[in-house]
Symmetry: C3
Subunit: 335 residues, 3 copies
């Protein structure tokens, strides 16, 4: 595997193989599989879970990792092309990224969306500008529109719980949050559920529609996999017979890059907090999923998060296992 960049790059069979491998590595550890192998971890945006789960994953497979993050004294990395670097930044990504990559057998990169221009972010201009600099196998640890490690972990989580693929009902719901957040998780989660062949409802207020290219790509995937996608602003209708609700806040797409207009719109929407009432007509065993971190009492009520519906902790643990499978395939093949 040369890149783990977008869940859409992988067939259902390839994903099944990765999930089987993840499950096997959990049951039968392979502490020598990646002996002496190095994963470079480059965070241009902050992280807790991703950093911890990747470092743990490499250790479990007998290798190791190092972390370059914005917390470190790296004086800010310059990324603008053709710039005269007479300001604060002492290093350009054109050197930093290839060098960091050259120390590893693979590199994980995280760079959040700029969230100024939607087309720019849909085109993954920023993330591509980094991966174009390297030949090393790489893993997308979250880009403007992608979070494939989360997607693989979520797919596995639903498998673990016996949630059906075809005929499984998946609600992807917007939730309130005081700040405008990136589209990476909702966009790539939609794609994941579509590839899994589920019947999906995207539940969101006006102004928070997912971008049409994202919807289009997911609809094609759903059709090919025997699933479906529809949109709704009606909680009750959306939650009817749902197997799972996947909650996540995201930016207003109607006002993308306009913080003030986004804020005005979302300020009215603080009742979009998932509480027990949302589950009235869902399946009795309907699950609550979230990629974490999650704001209690804002995105979801304590009673839901602390109750039996919530699978956020095993979901987060599956991040590590999913990544172990990706690392195993990526670095063993290199041999």
């Amino acid at each position: 595997m040369q890149a783990f960049n977008d869940i859409a790059d992988f067939s259902k069979d390839e994903i099944s193989a990765l999930i089987e491998l993840a499950t096997r590595l959990d049951r039968s550890p392979e502490p020598e599989a990646l002996k002496g192998k190095v994963l470079s971890l480059l965070f241009l945006s902050p992280s807790l879970r991703t950093l911890a789960s990747f470092q743990a994953a490499m250790t479990r497979l007998g290798g190791g990792s190092f972390v370059i993050s914005p917390d470190m004294s790296i004086h800010g990395l310059e990324s603008r092309p053709g710039i005269v670097m007479d300001g604060i930044a002492a290093e350009h990504i054109r050197e930093a990224v290839p060098v960091i990559a050259s120390y590893g057998d693979a590199i994980g990169i995280r760079a959040f969306a700029e969230r100024k221009n939607l087309q720019h972010d849909l085109d993954e201009v920023e993330f591509s500008s980094l991966t174009e600099l390297i030949d090393t196998p790489y893993i997308n640890m979250e880009s403007a529109m992608g979070h494939p490690c989360q997607n693989l972990a979520d797919w596995k989580t639903m498998n673990d719980l016996g949630i059906p693929s075809n005929d499984g009902k998946f609600v992807l719901s917007w939730a309130f949050h005081p700040r405008a957040l990136p589209l990476a998780v909702p966009a790539s989660t939609l794609q994941m559920a579509a590839q899994r062949g589920m019947d999906i409802t995207v539940l969101r207020p006006h102004g928070f529609e997912l971008p049409e290219p994202i919807m289009h790509k997911a609809r094609d995937a759903a059709a090919a996999a025997g699933g479906s996608i529809r949109e709704s602003i009606d909680r009750r209708e959306a939650m009817q017979d749902a197997h799972v609700i996947y909650a996540k806040s995201w930016s207003s797409t109607a006002h993308y890059g306009d913080k003030i207009a986004d804020q005005e719109l979302r300020n009215e929407l603080d009742d979009w907090c998932v509480d027990d009432s949302w589950f009235d007509n869902a399946r009795k065993d309907c699950r609550f999923m979230h990629c974490l971190p999650v704001r209690r009492g804002v995105v979801v009520a304590d009673s839901v998060l602390d109750g039996p519906r919530s699978v956020v902790i095993p979901e987060a643990r599956n991040r590590m296992l999913a990544q172990m499978a990706v690392l195993h395939q990526m670095m063993r093949i290199q041999k």
Copy 2:
């Protein structure tokens, strides 16, 4: 071993076994003992020695670790129950701690005392609120009243030096420091020396008496182990025939949580700096111990710290060895 939380949880035989294991692992390394095993390290309070010694310990045993610390861009973790998280904090400990724990085979946790309410800290309310969230084996890397890794290292250090258990005279002395510091080290060090069966003098100014529940628990342990505990404010009397002085500053317990009153009281006490004169009537080979970090010229004179009495460097190295023994027992038993 499911938890290494309080030195009082372990019998003298169990402690001896841990110290023997620590000594053996120093002489005969076992670089495959914890192959592929992961230690999660969660610091809610800062660290240098503890972080370094745990990371080194895991490497020496063939495993690895990852660190989550307050230095990282983790936006502050919320800990209040039932809170509506519409402020700065983006994650609650109720998610963060179980997730971090789930990536490891064991977790080390550090959370200093709040130092607002003595009973609250004696009850380990804060630390318990973290460990209640997890099933993973855990290690106390310093809580409000406990520092068992330091205690085990100190016990081993005295063994290494041939300082007797019964009939060994141990002086635990308060020392000056510009700031009010936690009780974890003095409280747990007293308990350690008591369990070791030593004759202990707690030397401290008025207002700095250790809390009665701490004294009571230690007196019981001393009685059971054939030792004794007394208190003094007279250096000369306290140091008579001492084998070792263990210096440490701590908060005024008379004014616990009241920084101003504590400051007023301690400002008069800057002559509580251990210098050569303290050793006039001690045993000729009386040792100086301190858990580090230590302020030179404030807690202890350079001449003592740089002289032959000081064992602070081997004492600090024993932190790593003691922790290797704990990790070995904790993670091997899991198999």
Copy 3:
């Protein structure tokens, strides 16, 4: 090997053996060579490449490392002798350095020059004050005047490219930079090229002459190795038939420690940016080397750095390989 402190401490044969070992470890990994071994990494000055390359190097050899850096909550380490520590600093290097060293089988230390007094820095007063505290084998990760890991990597890089030792023409050139930078790289690079037996031109403006003790030591090394050293302020003359130009900015030695005078002098020199015109009369395949980080459009033009002359990325990767050789020799011999 007890110390890797100064490239001048090693004979040409010893350096050749290290480079051969580095090349061999790249081709034939030894992921068990340093099993269970620990490298302590102490950064008193910031780092990206050095931290990443050392951590990766240890992993590739089957060991591990831990990092203590100024980014961490270590409250500043006190270094003044005899000080009463009643201020901010909670720990003195006299404890911190031996303790950190005691957790490793070797320690890497980085401490940049103070750049107040030239003789002080030439005498390596600060770095020596740290290494004097320890018995552990140590590696200089950059001191006031030394950067031996960079030197070894650069030597290997020239070997890899087939640049001749004797009769190889090496131009060490000053370059513009908005800030006054340390002398470690130019001083030790000059020494490296001299020991390699090259014909060296030091190209620099008035006021930026390298210190006479540095020049003297290098001239002796050049003479012994069959090379030569001259100085120039004329680019065209200096670059005549050059095999390689090694660009680096450094402080004015005429105004060492005087930031204002240095700034006034350098402000006139912003045309010292290596662009294509510099190579007019060099060898057609003349290479561009730099230790990184490098400021684009300031030290070097994009067209040079992005063109075929630039070898900065493989040069940086050789840092890791060179360090693997040093670590291998240092820690295997200890057995």
